[in-house]
């Protein structure tokens, strides 16, 4: 997908009137086509977003009108231990949903494409790819419930299996004890996410010229050297896209937390989105919930901008080489 700015014909400045791609028509009347979409965007996204920012400066319990309290919610946020815990848990989610799946996905995609596909047939490689992708097609809460079922404390499959093979001492209340709850959710998320980078990277690998590989092989480069020098550099755009979209998804994660632990035990698995949800609808601290949601939005926007800047810089560096 090239961005639109790249499509602009170079001689566009002097003749503004005939800028549209349709000949014999200026671009004036095209605004009409934006009206329904833009009206909806304003009502459903822009106004609520602004309203939410406003609510973050108020004390509001949902019944009486909001009272302006200035930056009090924000000072509270910065010294709120629970918020920082939720933020740390978000980093755990990034490890589980971005770092681990991307690294594993790279290796698996290269393995399937380069080795299984070439030596054992493309059909087996696509079959394995489809298998890895399977958890991705589920609603993420259903995926969480599937694993939650296996991790049930008293009669769950995992504890049952551990008991059966004589490792009963290892059986555990996986989601119910603070020391394993977060790790269990991380395992769920790795399971859910893994297929996405595998599919994207395998598609990207089709751009890699096999002759490059053969040349490197003749030069005596081993598999890992070829992987690093050729594969990773050619599919770098996809790595950027995958890490960006997955980081945003990791920062937003809500469903699995709600379905499995509701942030507990204590606050051991709380994440910002669940924290704001519980402030909105359980403790009715709407102003504070709006503050958490706004902070999360700011973080996501900053992360996205940093990613895009980094990507542009990397692309420029590559072009100048």
């Amino acid at each position: 997908m090239t961005t639109l700015s790249a499509q602009r014909p170079p001689v566009r400045r002097p003749k503004r009137r005939n800028d549209s791609m349709l000949p014999y028509s200026g671009r004036g009347g095209f605004w009409w086509y934006l009206v329904p979409g833009f009206a909806l965007l304003t009502v459903i996204i822009l106004v609520p977003l602004g309203w939410n920012v406003y609510l973050s400066f108020t004390s509001y319990r949902g019944i009486l009108p909001p009272i302006w309290i200035g930056g009090d919610n924000w000072t509270r946020l910065f010294s709120d231990q629970v918020f920082w815990t939720s933020f740390l848990n978000s980093i755990a989610m990034i490890i589980a949903m971005v770092v681990a799946p991307t690294l594993l996905g790279l290796v698996l995609a290269a393995m399937l494409f380069d080795l299984v596909g070439r030596k054992f047939g493309g059909k087996l490689a696509s079959f394995l790819r489809a298998t890895y992708y399977l958890p991705q097609i589920l609603p993420v809460v259903i995926a969480a419930i599937v694993i939650g079922w296996i991790l049930r404390p008293s009669d769950g499959a995992l504890n049952n299996i551990l008991n059966a093979i004589g490792l009963g001492s290892l059986s555990h209340n996986w989601l119910g004890s603070p020391d394993t709850a977060l790790a269990s959710i991380m395992v769920v998320m790795v399971w859910v996410q893994l297929g996405y980078p595998v599919v994207i990277f395998m598609a990207a690998l089709q751009r890699v010229d096999p002759e490059l590989y053969e040349a490197a092989e003749l030069d005596g480069a081993n598999w890992f050297q070829r992987f690093r020098a050729i594969t990773v550099s050619i599919i770098r755009p996809e790595i950027f896209v995958v890490t960006l979209t997955c980081t945003i998804a990791a920062l937003k994660v809500f469903g699995p937390i709600y379905a499995l632990t509701r942030g507990g035990p204590g606050t051991s698995t709380i994440v910002p989105s669940y924290y704001s949800y519980s402030e909105f609808f359980q403790t009715q601290q709407v102003g504070y919930g709006a503050t958490i949601a706004t902070a999360l939005t700011v973080i996501i926007v900053i992360v996205s901008i940093l990613f895009i800047l980094a990507q542009n810089r990397a692309e420029k560096a590559e072009r100048s080489n």
Binding site: M1, L55, V146, V286
Partner: protein, 305 residues
């Protein structure tokens, strides 16, 4: 992705006879020679695949057990007798057909409306190239990126005000906007590269803009539109936070919300919970099998710049 299970069995047999260099067994002669390491890696890839599928298999076999069968044989045994009690129990308790219909109704309408809005927006932005289009596209992209929590409470207040709270139409409106924001972004860049000759020919024939859009551009871009349609359907089906907050009465809930709502209940025995997970995953599994080609095309299309 359309490989059937039968294609794996010869490979698995191969893997067991690792290192066997018997040429008569190799199916494709031009393939490079397989070394012992190749087989080790293949076995690792297959073990990972089995680990990923294992939870699905566990859910599948345990949904057809009676609770007594489960406690006697454990989770790994095949059911002694196929028992539909757990599934029927869950089916009736949540009124599953109603939840299915709610999900289909919401996701179906959202995907149609969102594609129409995306087409209109992208026509103005990609073909019409209206002024400040880059900023408008960034705005739409932003709408898709921000966390839904940041919209949740104001939307909740607004829809309560207009009397659409706890009404499927609130979800339909909200997700039409959220999905079309992504569709606008994607389709604008697709229309930005639309073949100019076709547009010129249509204009020479005297067709006006409206006609060109619906008679020329939409039919030609139909493959992209169908990918968007299917993706919007599945994304809306999988949505959780806003449906959870807005659809509080039982009759309006979607499949994921209804299933999650029952998880905490002590009444749910182990096999009924398993059956609930099974019923939750079957619809999406069916979409996947029907649309797998379109889906793989779409998943990769979005990522390539």
């Amino acid at each position: 992705m359309s490989t059937t299970a039968s294609t794996t069995s010869p490979a698995k047999t191969d893997a067991r006879r690792r290192g066997a260099g018997d040429p008569s067994r190799s199916l494709h002669k031009q393939k490079p020679k397989r070394t012992a390491t190749d087989y080790v890696i293949l076995v690792i890839a297959i073990i990972i695949a089995i680990l990923i599928v294992a939870p699905f298999l566990l859910i599948l076999i345990n949904s057809f057990k009676s609770p007594a069968d489960y406690s006697a044989g454990g989770p790994l045994q095949l059911p002694k007798a196929i028992d539909f009690h757990s599934i029927a129990n869950f089916w009736n308790r949540v009124d599953f057909p109603l939840k299915l219909w709610n999900s289909i109704f919401i996701s179906g309408l959202v995907s149609i409306f969102a594609v129409v809005i995306s087409v209109l927006n992208a026509f103005a932005l990609g073909i019409g190239r209206v002024r400040a289009r880059t900023w408008i596209i960034v705005l739409f992209l932003l709408a898709n990126m921000i966390p839904q929590e940041a919209l949740l409470y104001p939307l909740y207040m607004m829809f309560k005000q207009v009397g659409l709270y706890d009404n499927v139409w609130s979800i339909i409106i909200i997700f039409t906007v959220i999905q079309s924001a992504f569709g606008t972004y994607l389709l604008s860049s697709v229309y930005g590269t639309f073949p100019k000759e076709i547009l010129e020919a249509a204009a020479l024939d005297g067709a006006n803009r409206w006609k060109i859009l619906w008679r020329v551009i939409v039919p030609i871009s139909r493959p992209t539109l169908s990918v968007l349609l299917i993706f919007f359907f599945i994304w809306t089906w999988n949505e959780f936070l806003i449906p959870l907050t807005f659809l509080i009465s039982n009759d309006n809930q979607t499949v994921p919300v209804a299933i999650t709502a029952l998880q905490g209940q002590r009444l749910m025995d182990v096999t009924t919970t398993s059956a609930s997970a099974l019923l939750g995953l079957i619809p999406t599994l069916i979409f996947f099998l029907i649309f797998q080609r379109t889906l793989t095309r779409g998943i990769t299309a979005g990522a390539v710049k």
